[in-house]
């Protein structure tokens, strides 16, 4: 793959992949490693992009698979060494207003409490604007599963955010 192609891919899609990975892993160093792993993989095997219609969706799918691999590896390691993940990384930009800042903090914490599979669907729906069909294809899950994961995830977020939301509305 030509260097300009990789650079173009990075400039066009790295932000979306970064946000997805950060929300999925909740860990900045892991996100960086995964983002680098993804672009290194693409540089090594440019044929992966051959015939791909939607580059963004393809990169997000690749990122999701890499993140799952990392979680599996980490899961095995942590089981044996009893290591715990550090402080979750902030996933939203800092807010100027205190109320908005509090809401974002609460939202980030609530997102961290829902299962990663639900979080992935919620992220792709809310912040990537994908349809359930696209999400199902991207995550290789049935359409109904994608919809139900979104519903369950959103219900939990609503429960967690209700007091704060009512207060600052």
């Amino acid at each position: 793959m030509a260097q300009t192609d990789i650079e173009r891919l990075y400039d066009e899609h790295a932000q979306a992949v970064f946000a997805f990975l950060l929300n999925f892993t909740r860990h900045e160093a892991d996100t960086r490693d995964l983002l680098q792993e993804l672009f290194v993989k693409l540089a090594r095997r440019p044929e992966l992009l051959g015939g791909v219609r939607d580059e963004r969706a393809f990169l997000l799918r690749l990122a999701h698979n890499l993140a799952l691999d990392l979680i599996r590896r980490r899961g095995t390691r942590e089981k044996y060494h009893g290591q715990l993940a550090g402080e979750p990384a902030p996933i939203f930009t800092l807010a100027a207003e205190p109320d908005e800042g509090a809401f974002r903090e609460a939202l980030a914490a609530a997102l961290g409490d829902i299962p990663a599979e639900q979080r992935a669907v919620v992220h792709l729906k809310l912040w990537e604007g994908l349809t359930f069909e696209q999400i199902a294809e991207l995550l290789a899950i049935p359409l109904n599963t994608a919809a139900s994961r979104y519903r369950y995830g959103l219900d939990k977020l609503r429960e967690r955010l209700r007091p704060l939301y009512d207060e600052i509305k």
Partner: protein, 150 residues
């Protein structure tokens, strides 16, 4: 709280930007990987197809990775089974090998014992098959008739 209202509010939350310093680092790593990937192929391999070993390695990694502990356990069980099988298979021919060759001394001793036994027992008697068979016993009624006549 209206569901649509919450979703709209969540959608408006601005996500963090990817750190700008990462761009150069990641692209540099990708460039390096691309160079190292293509350099050996042009010098050593004529074609661009991956070797059989690397394909096999990739396929095995994909297959075994999800449950490495389970696969390792299964492999260990097979090694134990193979070990037990080899041990038992080797033991049987050993016994046969030790027992089969008869040394000349043992053979001579065996012959001497047989000769001594023959001397002690004398010539062999007529076999059971050659002996005259006893007359068939008469029916009980015949016997009674003889007694009456006597």
């Amino acid at each position: 709280m209206n569901p649509d209202e919450l979703e709209k509010r969540l959608e408006r939350q601005p996500l963090r930007q990817v750190p700008s310093a990462w761009r150069d680092q990641i692209l540099s790593a990708a460039r390096q990987a691309s160079r190292s990937e293509h350099a050996p192929r042009t010098t050593h391999h004529v074609g661009s197809r991956p070797s059989l070993l690397s394909t096999l390695h990739h396929q095995l990694s994909t297959l075994l990775w999800p449950h490495p502990v389970a696969w390792a356990g299964l492999a260990a069980v097979w090694v134990v089974i193979l070990g037990v099988n080899l041990t038992t298979r080797d033991a049987a021919p050993l016994v046969a090998r030790h027992s089969s060759p008869l040394s000349p001394q043992v053979f001579m001793a065996f012959q001497a014992q047989e000769q001594l036994l023959n001397e002690l027992l004398g010539p062999p008697e007529a076999s059971v098959a050659d002996r005259p068979k006893p007359p068939l016993s008469q029916p009980r009624s015949e016997g009674r008739r003889e007694m009456v006549m006597v």
